[in-house]
Symmetry: C2
Subunit: 133 residues, 2 copies
Amino acid sequence: MPAHAKLVAVSDVAEQGLVEEWHELLARYSAVFSTLECRLQERHGIGANEFEALERLATCDFKCRSADLTGAIHLSQSATSRLVARLEKEGLVQRALCDADRRGIFVTITDAGQEKYLAAKQTHREVLNETLR
Amino acid sequence: MPAHAKLVAVSDVAEQGLVEEWHELLARYSAVFSTLECRLQERHGIGANEFEALERLATCDFKCRSADLTGAIHLSQSATSRLVARLEKEGLVQRALCDADRRGIFVTITDAGQEKYLAAKQTHREVLNETLR
DNA sequence: CGACAGTACATGCATACGCATTTAATGTCT
DNA sequence: AGACATTAAATGCGTATGCATGTACTGTCG
């Protein structure tokens, strides 16, 4: 076997490992996410991303800008904007103008949002327990 | 500190670890997937899920049923059906009736599909190298 | 001060998704 | 053989997403 063939073989092996790692990551993610989505929806009427947003707002309960949420959950800016709009329509968060920079908005969790979060948290942790290892 | 308080604290710690693990998984997945999506799209005009399907068909190049694809990629049955339809429209795969069970269809990769796969594979591996550790 | 680049969020639009249902073929039970 | 449950894939429908763009505000530079 020529030297370069061996190198190719070695790199193929490394590459294959990477691919397997990716598939595991993908499988793991899909399993957790879809279970979360399903159970949070049926028990609390919210999606997994909605929950992540509520959790962010509930724990880091300072004034939280829309842009901060975009960083926390892994969504585009526009998706975050609509997510906040949905949550507001359901009465779980409030949008408030930001005096310091009137382009931005502060998103705050409402009492109803807190309750919803605390209830959903149980389900969330339960699912993580079941699906992560 | 009462005993039950300690137990709660301990379980909270374990729970917090689980939550962190989930956030890492989510962040990792999002980073890899969106980079894949982006680069595969701009260089080869296909999405990340399309690539996964092509890879499955190219490597396991036996007759592959639509249902097998549904298992391999993490999509619903209907999403897989439409994915195959898109790939067929682009001439990358073919649908063939299955004689043994005429409800099912066999999906096979075309020559154009093979070429597309081999080209995209480079990009795919490159992205995995960059984004997985 | 006034124009103009930059930033924060909202929105129009196209698309991919999941759920529920439909359609067609298979298998089973009497 | 005939009726009925089951399965494979397609499709109608509602919705969440990303990209591109719009709108409102800020900050800077001349």
